[in-house]
Symmetry: C2
Subunit: 139 residues, 2 copies
DNA sequence: TCCTACAATGGACTAAGTCCAAGTCAAGTG
DNA sequence: CACTTGACTTGGACTTAGTCCATTGTAGGA
């Protein structure tokens, strides 16, 4: 049922009710939640869970590479459990809706050596912006 | 002397001492400043300028398309006056240093129609992450 | 069952940014 | 040039998102 939970367990994570609940929330199809949204859903399942724990747990999942932090809008970070398959994001500039997308080609390869300034480049994050069909309809 | 200032004037901006100072700060080679850094430098030239005005002015410049907002780290937004030439960013994951880069190819073209979900895609923002030479040396 | 190191709690704290009512002033008009 | 007016600025209170930490609780091994 919970792939995410399985993977975390396999890494020697100490399993607690709180961590299970956070993993379950992220593992649904409710992707791209903010930390507060995760907390709200977690509270529904485990009323006494604290905000600090949710932040800690999300942070650990990010460190373990099981969840990706996305900061597409300028407000809160969002958490994307779809970390096992590389992807990028398409964001509606009006309503903030987010879709996962898979562009052709490898943007990393598009950065020539003379544009790397001696950096060891390890990662690339691409955010497309535009207007979603919904917002376009109500323009 | 101040290209940015010239362009803004040409758009019917009401010119005030505050706006001039903010434009001057951004127009130097001091790129990628946070709003607070802009404010600090502005205060050096015009002691009574307020934080709110700096935020307002930066926001207007962004709206006019003369300045780009960059949120590479998860802290404060940074402001990049180099808006007239499309470019992307290379960020050091350790120290946060930022360089402008110009990748080959057009990432927008790499997003196939069937990955656009009906969005009208107008913009793309690419952030490369890695370790800068400085940080690599002191690893 | 008991221990103990790791985890959770919650409330105070910080950073970054927004809001607003009141005062100020740039620039067009006569 | 003086006047007028609506746009601009101010500063302080407020909000939002997130961090910190001392204390309390507990998972899981011996």
């Amino acid at each position: 049922m919970s792939d995410l939970l399985e993977r975390l367990r396999g890494r020697g994570w100490r399993m607690t009710a709180q961590r299970r609940v956070v993993a379950e929330v992220l593992d649904g199809d409710h992707v791209h939640l903010t930390a507060d949204e995760v907390h709200a859903r977690a509270v529904a399942k485990l009323p006494e869970i604290s905000r600090a724990t949710v932040y800690n747990t999300l942070g650990e999942m990010v460190t373990l590479g099981e969840v990706i932090e996305v900061s597409t809008d300028r407000r809160a970070k969002r958490y994307d459990p779809n970390a096992h398959r590389p992807h990028h994001h398409l964001v509606c500039a009006r309503c903030g809706a987010i879709r996962d997308v898979h562009p052709a080609g490898d943007p990393l390869a598009d950065l020539p050596a003379d544009e790397r300034f001696g950096f060891t480049v390890s990662d690339v994050e691409v955010t497309y912006r535009g207007i979603c069909p919904n917002c376009a309809a109500t323009a």
